[in-house]
Amino acid sequence: MLQNRFGRLTATALAGSMLLGAAACGGSEEPTTSAKPEGGASSAAAPAEKGPKVGLAYDIGGRGDQSFNDAAAAGLDKAKTELGLADTKELEAGSGETEAAKEERLRLLAQGGYNPVIAVGFAYSASVKKVAAEFPEVKFAIVDDAAATAPNISNLLFAEQEGSYLVGAAAALKTKKEHIGFVGGVQVPLIQKFEAGFVAGAKKIKADVVIDVKYLTQPPDFTGFNDPAKGKTAAEGMFDAGADVVYHAAGGSGGGVFEAAKAAKGLGIGVDSDQAKTAAADVRGVVMTSMIKKVDVAVFDFLKSFTSNSVKAGTTVYDLKAGGVDYSTTGGQVDDIKIQLDELKQKIISGEIVVPDKSS
């Protein structure tokens, strides 16, 4: 066996080169292939006049997460019809990818003539900063991050804790067992802002309410934003332990939380989008309210300012006052407590209540 090491080595080397070689054979078809995607793009763009080409880079989950990314997609869709965008391109992140992959995604968009380019999620912070410097003529926007600053970067921020405060109050008002829960996607500072607001709001209404807090994954594992099964298990645990209202800030995992709520005849609170409208049809009934984070509004506003040539670089905060976060009333389940919630809302807007953005 030892003396034949070399034979094995060559075999393995061959295996590798063959796999690459097989791929190379496909490359000979190239002239016909590269023409097609471009043709498709131009035919799609034909009806629109000559609006901007918009590139959107999603965080993990992408379009279809019924939550954070979908909210951004909604803003883009609205802009597409109302602002007459020439073309849009949406790329999505893979889980556990390197910084270089994120940079390359933004670079491909900027290189492909997409301007402006919107990065959805704080994960793009470093890459936006780097790529924006390489393409000074392209306007960039990043959602949820204020650290990446440049003359061509707009930072779209949200006061998630303020909206969470209101749904926390709603949960405390609605619970019959004096026991509520919070399911966070991944234990990162951003999601802890949701938790802090939710807990503060609930305690404001009932100081002794029991609040279960559970994060689905720990960084660097970001699958907690995209794993309904984990969400379901966590929420089931809370309902079994006696909770009857569970708020999730877990992106795509939230679907599982609603399923658990339905099975336990409890209530769920949605996040980012108005989930009584966006969640799977069979669980919409359990979505009592949602903490709406109007990423769609921020994305649309940014695109609108781009078409009117008035892009503002730097931070724009979408808080309760600016209507950037809110609670939803779809389904009418919180109509009976609307007066109390709106009172709290006014107090936050006037500054009488300052919502903490870090859990104590």
Binding site: M1, A11, G27, P37, G96, E104, F122, A147, V188, P189
Partner: protein
């Protein structure tokens, strides 16, 4: 060992060789399998297979993409070598993932807290990473030797513990600092003396190849030399092949398990270094995850051979890099993961099939020799 008596694991881990033309048949079969299955998947999802490959190759041969793939591959390679060290001794170190993450985190925090002249600073960070990786893997080694706990179970559990420990450490009260205005959190960035500059290896691209590719190459060479040219390597492989035989020839198997596990962990600790020292300079929430599991697949793909693993790592990295361009052409990026999985399975299945063919061919030859007894012997004599 004759091929007929080999176990599936022996054949899987590349311990049994294929003779003559058969060694060519296996990779060709693997390519045909992988190509067929991927084409079917592409057709089902509505993407034309040849065009898709064309797009990927078109993009993959650009200098920029080659640099990106090389940079990605150096981490993959180190991780796969770490896995392969264990494989060679029949140890399944599933814990490379936890080992490299914990190692990178501690090394990043350590590196940021000291200042040394450049080469020493880099060496110190690398050393700490190796020590942490080795230490973490040794827990599984000790459990196996002292308590007979399967290293598969213990390393998987240790992955989960490493994740929890990592997120506990990655807190501003401990090893991390918060960046103002950012929702990210990470260790303090390494000073310039610990940053490894890139090499302008590929002409035509402003991007530089990660300087730590040299480390990856060195580890590959070392892996080959130690395993094939030293007494230790012989003992390690012997233990992997047959424990009783190794014991009989005077190998202390328990000691070998401990050392192999620690070595595997030390190399695992290196897997995060190309990214830490050459790219991010800090361990943050953005630090890539899953290198360790990718390493397992690549070690299988490369059949534990240092050159084979290099090809596997490059192929894997090339596929990863091309996922962005696929999205630009409205092809689902998940295709890449399907391709990667298909390739690994194809390689395993193809080699196994060819091995079985070889075994049955051998048996047929032997039985026909026995049946035709004298005649064969007479022919042999005349020749």
């Amino acid at each position: 060992m004759s091929a007929a008596k080999s176990t599936f694991a022996d054949r899987l881990l590349g311990r049994v060789r294929l003779g003559g033309l058969l060694s060519l048949a296996a990779p060709i079969l693997a390519v045909v399998f992988a190509g067929l299955i991927t084409s079917v998947v592409l057709l089902i999802t509505g993407a034309p297979p040849l065009e898709t490959l064309g797009i990927m190759v078109d993009y993959g041969v650009q200098p920029r993409s080659i640099v990106l793939a090389l940079n990605l591959a150096s981490g993959f390679y180190l991780s796969a070598i770490a896995v392969a060290i264990g494989f060679r001794m029949n140890l399944f170190n599933i814990g490379v993932d936890g080992q490299y993450r914990l190692a990178a985190l501690v090394a990043a925090a350590f590196g940021a807290s000291i200042t040394l002249p450049a080469p020493l600073h880099i060496a110190a960070v690398v050393l700490v990473a190796m020590l942490v990786g080795a230490g973490w893997a040794s827990i599984a080694g000790l459990l196996k030797v002292r308590r007979g706990v399967s290293e598969v179970i213990s390393t998987i559990m240790l992955n989960a513990i490493a994740t929890a420990l990592g997120s506990w450490l990655l807190n501003k009260d401990r090893l991390a600092v918060e960046v103002a205005g950012s929702n990210n959190i990470g260790t303090k960035p390494l000073g310039p003396s610990a940053q490894v500059s890139g090499i302008a290896l590929i002409p035509g691209s402003p991007l530089k190849v990660n300087g730590l590719i040299i480390l990856a190459v060195a580890v590959g060479v070392l892996y080959y030399v130690v395993l094939n040219r030293t007494r230790f390597g012989f003992d390690l492989r012997a233990t992997g092949r047959s424990e009783p035989a190794a014991v009989a020839s005077g190998v202390n198997v328990k000691r070998m398990v401990l050392i192999a596990m620690a070595l595997s962990g030390a190399v695992a600790g290196l897997a995060g270094m190309p990214i830490l020292l050459g790219e991010s300079y800090s361990y943050s929430l953005q630090f890539p995850l899953g290198l360790g599991f990718t390493g397992i697949a690549i070690a299988l793909l490369g059949r534990n051979n240092p050159v084979g693993i290099a090809f596997g790592a490059m192929l894997w990295a090339f596929l990863d890099v091309s996922s962005n361009i696929l999205q630009l052409h409205e092809i689902s990026p998940e295709i890449v993961q399907i391709m990667q999985g298909t390739i690994v399975l194809s390689v395993i299945v193809a080699y196994e099939l060819v091995h079985r063919y070889q075994i049955s061919a051998e048996q047929r030859r032997v039985s026909s020799e026995l049946a035709g007894g004298t005649q064969v012997r007479a022919e042999g004599a005349s020749a």
